[in-house]
């Protein structure tokens, strides 16, 4: 994971505590989702974000109110990080009417207009032109917003990504292409699927600047995010962040993960874990005590448990819901 390290000098205690809390919320939420899947409460596909938490938490710290985000099917972390409620996300995972999509989207398809979260898309790579389109709308409307468009190292081999790079550069669209490189496209490693070692360098062919970022270091992610946001917001067009990260769990809940060793996963967990990294900074810098962190852990656990209860108790959608929201009614 060759990527630059950033100085940690300019980070406040409050910020470190915030990062810790946000990343821990995603991890505990995902662990609970995995548990509910095992109990049969969540069906269909379920792609967990465990290991990659620093990516969305770091970038959200670089975003302003009104900035947009769109991502693929591994989307639970993005929703929590942009402020969507754990209850609504978990209830959507269990397919209940209290979910963000009234139980009709499931794990991969959730949206929140209020939080400017535009999905949750299940077709690998399809969210990339959509993200550029959101940026196109912002440029058209002249509101100086930027759009974070997340996709994986696997999606980076879809043709529409490069169609989008071309138009985003041609039209100076304020879009940040965030490649979450967790090194495996489902079961295929980057070496076996991708001709370039550094995916962000593909932007060079279109004149799009970019950089590789250590995705296990939330401070490095935030710093790179700020560079990208400043570039886009100043009207200079798109920017690429290739964030080198790692997922600890399988591609989905049904992945036996035979394509990598347990030792490989264990090594990253022990040496690079993003939450442990912030925990160390907080404790060694004497910003807080073990007891302070335990209190946070308890609070997070309570939020997650409450979301699981909500997701179990929320009713199934009525059968009639099969036939609603297919067409929008024209305004009178």
């Amino acid at each position: 994971m060759a990527a630059k390290k950033t100085s940690k000098a300019n980070v406040s205690k409050d910020e470190l505590m915030h990062f810790y809390r946000e990343m821990l919320l995603i991890r505990r939420f995902e662990e609970k989702a995995g548990q509910l899947y095992g109990m049969g409460l969540i069906g269909g596909f379920c792609h967990l974000y465990i290991g990659q938490e620093a990516v969305v938490v770091g970038l959200e710290a670089a975003a302003e109110d009104g900035d947009k985000r769109v991502t693929s099917y591994r989307d639970h972390g993005h929703m929590l990080a942009c402020g969507m409620e754990a209850n609504g996300v978990m209830a959507e995972l269990t397919g209940r009417s209290g979910g963000y999509s009234k139980g009709k989207g499931g794990s991969m398809h959730m949206f929140s207009k209020e939080k400017h979260f535009y999905g949750g898309h299940g077709i690998v790579g399809a969210q990339v032109p959509i993200g550029a389109g959101l940026a196109f709308a912002d440029k058209y409307l002249g509101n100086s917003r930027v759009t974070f468009t997340y996709f994986g190292d696997g999606a980076a081999n879809q043709g529409q990504v490069y169609e989008t790079f071309n138009m985003a550069a041609l039209w100076d669209l304020p879009v940040i292409f965030v490649i979450e490189n967790n090194q495996y496209a489902m079961g295929t490693s980057q070496q076996r699927s991708t001709s370039s070692a550094e995916i962000y360098e593909r932007g060079r062919a279109f004149g799009i600047p970019g950089e590789a970022v250590d995705g296990m270091d939330v401070l490095a992610v935030k710093a790179a995010g700020e560079t990208a946001v400043a570039h886009c917001r100043s009207g200079k067009g798109p920017y690429i962040l290739e964030i080198k990260t790692y997922r600890y769990r399988g591609h989905s809940m049904s992945d036996p993960a035979k394509y990598r060793t347990r030792e490989e996963v264990q090594k990253v967990r022990e040496e690079k874990d993003a939450i442990e990294h912030i925990r160390d900074l907080l404790l060694t810098g004497k910003h807080c005590t073990e007891d302070d962190l335990k209190t946070i852990d308890k609070e997070i656990k309570a939020v997650v448990n409450k979301s699981a209860e909500f997701a179990k108790e929320s009713p199934e959608p009525a059968l009639e819901e099969l036939w609603t929201d297919i067409y929008a009614r024209a305004e009178a």
Binding site: Y118, A137, E163, T164, N166
Partner: protein
Amino acid sequence: MAIEILMPALSPTMEEGTLAKWLVAEGDKVSSGDILAEIETDKATMEFEAVDEGIIGKLLIAEGTAAIAVNSAIAILLEDGESLSDAAPTATPSSVSHASLATKVSLPVTAHAPKQGNIAEQDLPEGTTFKTQTVREAIRDAMSEEMRRDETVYLMGEEVAEYQGAYKISQGMLDEFGSKRVIDTPITEHGFAGIAVGASFGGLKPIVEFMTFNFAMQAMDQIINSAAKTLYMSGGQMGAPMVFRGPNGAAARVGAQHSQDYAAWYAHIPGLKVIQPYSAADAKGLLKSAIRDPNPVIFLENEILYGQSFEVPDLADYTVPLGKARIWREGNDITLS
């Protein structure tokens, strides 16, 4: 041996044209590649080049003559030393009858008589007058009127702006609305369809022109998985208010890859509305309604109809409701609608 220069077909659907201007005079020597005349088709003014070399013996058709059938003789080309009288046997203008052209399409009413359809059945204001318009002009007017009415409506597609439309649908729109709202895209259907879907999520109302719906196959995933399904999968929170439009179905002699009719395909996708108008009045009124509709609408046009004229109600805001059938002709035993 004198050669007859014939009125050329300059598009797959051209049956006749106007000889706008001669660029040579009788007695001029011409070589292969010299420009002989400017010819107006229903889409554009095109330059017509000489194929053979020789001397212009006679211009058979005067400048400004309209409705000259394809393959009619328009000039006589003489070889060096040959005189017009030598060429006498062929000097009478010949013309190939339309019926022998494979491109001839049989339409229910003669091609040039303006067709009114059954507009009278609708609730038009008393005293409504009609104007004769081609389908091409009606589609352009529908888009322009809606773009004047709503700042968030914009047009994007291949060759829609500077080229004025591959089929000249968007003629004049770049001048009126500028390059912010009439946008030439690269040849990248999947990409620009996806960008338009994203723009619709972001508050705009895109009109996406496909040069033909055959090319929309490249964009099928974005049309179906992103545009049509998002309203449902977001529990009604957000959808794609947009129009995908362009020529569809049979054209003339363009082969199977340019002739498919996709109406039935799209009609099977929940979330899409599908429109396939015949007359210019329906094209105008339905396209205006499609642009205002909060759903993704597939608006299927037909290249052969673009140049056909119909009577269109001369109203400031003529719309035709979606989803309501028009009865073109009542049957004795059964009426389809």
